[in-house]
């Protein structure tokens, strides 16, 4: 019987194809928007999960508490002694300090830029820890910083691309001026896909001291030993370091967070943003539902006599209800399917545009549940929108329906 109802519904929709087409168009637009927007949100989330997976869950970061508002203007710093103290805490496998500031960087005669210059340790183990946390990606060209490098720098990927930072790309062996000090470029990191990270300049701590005459650390990275739970360790570090610095609880000048915790807070902010956009896109689905309702009312009005005939030859109310709900559900389903296709194309195009403009981090991701969810959603929107009209149709009295003109 389901097959019969389906065939009957589709033939009815086909008979009024222009109206069906317009109705489908209205629902597919909304589904397209929701699908494309969600895929970008999920893409970012997926990327973060991947990063957390590859970079491990063993990393902890310590930063000044006013980092978010003051950036490199914070007056809180970590000293070498602080770092030594942290290294000795049980469960800490490695610790390294980093220092950064936003500084003038000049290349040839091109307009100077103000990227972040990061000083990092060149002890192989510590450097790996810093790289995992920041660059996280391999070397694209040249080599990483090594012991004994002073006025040597490695650069983010965007320095290799003309017009992104400087008019012409920087090559290995070129000299750039950091804070008016000439520094040789020895390597480039792979593309991270985020314009601000791909703009970073990395130098050794010795080089940083030479250029900026500063050696206290701006933040500290730690790695938990394999048998340690990083979250518990972060709490322990916070407690121990607070006591060591003689700061009372609630008065800490720093915070210690695991990498995963940091990711989670970004994630949460991101989800709110995407949630708002999807909510706005949902408005159009509501409008589309109203359109479907309208189409169904019209359809029932036009087919009043038909309904009368069906009823007089024995069709039950339930059957009539099912016929019209199926019809509106099919409208939604077709809209959803086409919407997915169009949304996929739009998202893919958006992803390509993002790559071309140096934001390759922004890529869509289509988990199977999003695809299935959108299809079901479209079908249900159609079916629910058709509920009232279908109910009205099912309640028609056969005699009145037959008499209707």
């Amino acid at each position: 019987m389901i097959k019969e109802i389906l065939r009957y519904s589709i033939s009815n929709l086909w008979q009024r194809r222009r109206r069906s087409l317009l109705t489908i168009l209205s629902i597919l637009i909304g589904i397209t928007a929701i699908f494309a927007l969600s895929s970008f949100g999920l893409g970012l989330q997926h990327l973060m999960e991947e990063i957390a997976k590859t970079m491990g869950t063993d990393k902890i970061m310590m930063m000044p508490k006013d980092y978010m508002t003051a950036l490199d203007k914070s007056n809180v710093r970590f000293t070498e002694e602080d770092l030594d103290f942290l290294r000795k805490i049980n469960g800490v496998e490695e610790a390294t300090g980093m220092i950064m500031c936003s500084s003038k960087v000049k290349f040839k005669d091109y307009k100077e830029k103000y990227p972040y210059v990061m000083g990092m340790s060149t002890e192989p183990k510590e450097e790996r820890l810093a790289e995992e946390m920041f660059a996280g990606y391999g070397i694209e060209k040249g080599r990483a910083l090594k012991k004994g490098d002073v006025l040597k720098a490695t650069l983010g990927y965007n320095y290799l691309v003309p017009d992104r930072i400087f008019k012409k790309p920087v090559s290995l062996g070129d000299k750039i001026e950091i804070n008016n000090v000439k520094v040789e470029v020895v390597g480039f990191y792979e593309e991270i896909g985020n314009p601000s990270d791909d703009m970073n300049v990395y130098i050794s701590l010795e080089g940083y001291k030479e250029i900026f005459e500063e050696e206290d650390y701006f933040f500290i990275l730690l790695r938990a030993a394999p048998d340690q739970d990083a979250t518990a360790l972060a709490d322990k570090i916070k407690e121990r370091f607070r006591k060591y610095k003689g700061q009372k609880e609630g008065q800490e000048e720093f915070f210690a967070q695991t990498y995963v915790q940091m990711m989670e807070s970004y994630d949460a902010a991101l989800n709110v943003l995407i949630g708002i956009l999807v909510l706005i896109a949902l408005v159009s689905v509501v409008v589309a539902a109203v359109n479907i309702m309208n189409t169904m009312y019209t359809s029932i009005l036009e087919r009043t006599r038909e309904i009368g005939i069906m009823k007089s030859v024995g069709a039950r109310n339930r059957f009539i209800l099912l016929v019209f709900i199926t019809e509106s559900g099919v409208l939604g389903l077709i809209g959803g399917l086409i919407g997915l296709g169009v949304g996929y194309l739009i998202a893919k195009t958006g992803g390509l545009i993002a790559i071309a403009s140096g934001v390759s981090m922004l890529q869509p991701y289509f988990p199977y549940w999003l695809v299935i969810g959108c299809i079901f959603f479209a079908f249900f929107v159609g079916a629910i929108a058709g509920l009232l009209p279908a109910y009205q149709a099912s309640q028609l009295k056969p005699v009145d329906a037959l008499r209707y003109e």
Binding site: L22, S26, K65, A70, D72, K73, K104, N294
Partner: protein, 406 residues
């Protein structure tokens, strides 16, 4: 005659009762969403613009080039007294003052919070800064020359949430491990920077943060508006190039006029706004498709009627106008309801925001332009989507139309 069109169009709409309503609902949801979002977006832009403290039509801000974040951060070659003196010497400049900005920890009631500290210059320039932000004391008094280890705080410190209890005038707080007396609290400015600021005298600030005796993070220049903002800006740039010995195009400082500061911020906000509006407009488009559908149905249903009208002499243009006006009406009435609902929704949200958040962070701005624009837009939209169906109605062959009897 024209009136008849409207009467006929209206009776056509009434005839379809429920379905006309549904079509209008489609339109008004979209219009309401867009109107509410634009209203809130404009309010947000206004709120953000007011965050930029030094703004007045006659104030120019000078800072050494640096990175992101606080003015003056990352600057290699900071602005100094030397530049300040030169700027004061430019004709058309009424006065100029330098300020220091630092991030600081405040300790009060056993709790620590980070915020910004800004310096207040001494003497005449103090008045300049006070005028600029229209500084007044809500409690206590403002700073004066010779105040040592005394601070004036922004209004937000009166809130209990921050430290467990409000900081009022006369209380002691600890900044960078030094005890300060709060001599006053400023009135509420609705500007996050100022409302959370800690102000202290310049000499105290230099001592506390171990700053060089003559550098500044940012300078505010008050000028004579009669001279013209562009001329003053160019003069300041020329003078600073000379003092700092840099070539044109290689400036390591920035001179920002009120307009240019806002411009940067506004470009970003505008980008976000446009993106949100585009997504919201999708629902209007969907509503438009609803109108089109509804009108096609009306044409089909009234084929016989059209045939009769044509056979007794109605012109193609008359039939066209009839349907065109009908769809325009759908759009206009839907739009009107949408404006009303969008307006109420945004106002409600602002009200709720005030109740829940206790601050005026969410505001809405409705210009008459927005309202009139939305109305005209929805009428145009209705007519636009009604054009094709109306054309189809107009081109019906009377004989065929009459034969299409049901």
């Amino acid at each position: 005659m024209k009136f008849d069109y409207f009467r006929l169009a209206l009776s056509g709409l009434k005839h379809r009762g429920l379905r006309s309503w549904l079509t209008m609902i489609g339109i008004f949801i979209g219009i309401a969403a867009v109107v509410a979002l634009i209203g809130l977006g404009e309010g947000l832009r206004e709120a953000i613009n007011s965050q930029f403290g030094f703004i007045g039509a006659d104030i120019i801000t000078v800072a050494a080039s640096g990175g992101l974040g606080v003015p003056g951060s990352g600057a290699i070659n900071p602005l100094t007294d030397k530049e300040l003196e030169k700027i004061r010497g430019i004709t058309g400049v009424k006065n100029a003052a330098g300020r220091l900005l630092e991030s600081t920890k405040i300790l009060f009631n056993k709790k620590a919070v980070f915020t910004f500290a800004a310096s207040m210059p001494g003497g005449e320039e103090r008045e300049l800064i006070e005028d600029m932000v229209n500084m007044k004391a809500e409690e206590g008094r403002l700073l004066k020359d010779g105040d040592k280890y005394a601070v004036v705080l922004g209004y937000n410190f009166l809130e209990k949430e921050r430290f467990g209890k409000p900081i009022t005038a006369g209380k002691k707080i600890t900044l960078q491990d030094k005890e300060f007396t709060v001599v006053g609290i400023m009135t509420k400015k609705g500007n996050l920077q100022i409302d959370q600021a800690v102000l202290m005298n310049e000499d105290v600030m230099r001592e506390l943060f171990e700053r060089n005796p003559d550098d500044y993070d940012v300078m505010a220049v008050k000028f004579d508006e009669a001279v013209g903002v562009d001329k003053i800006k160019a003069d300041i740039e020329k003078e600073l190039r000379k003092v700092r010995n840099v070539k044109e195009g290689e400036e390591d400082f920035s001179v920002e006029t009120p307009a240019s500061i806002l411009e940067n911020v506004n470009t970003i906000i505008l980008g976000v706004q446009i993106f949100v509006y585009v997504i919201a407009s999708i629902s209007i488009l969907v509503g438009g498709i609803g109108i089109m559908n509804s009108m096609y149905t009306a044409v089909v249903e009234r084929t016989k009627e059209i045939g009769i009208m044509k056979s007794i002499g109605a012109k193609n243009s008359t039939i066209f106008s009839l349907f065109f006006i009908e769809s325009g009406l759908l759009g206009a009435v839907g739009g009107l309801m949408g404006v009303v609902i969008g307006f109420s929704a945004a106002t409600g949200l602002v009200f709720a925001g005030r109740l829940v958040l206790g601050s005026e962070i969410i505001t809405a701005q409705f210009s008459p332009l927005l309202i009139i624009g939305a109305l005209i837009f929805s009428f145009t939209l209705g007519s636009f989507f009604g054009t094709l169906p109306a054309m189809q109605a107009a081109q019906l062959n009377p004989v065929e139309a009459l034969r299409f009897a049901k």
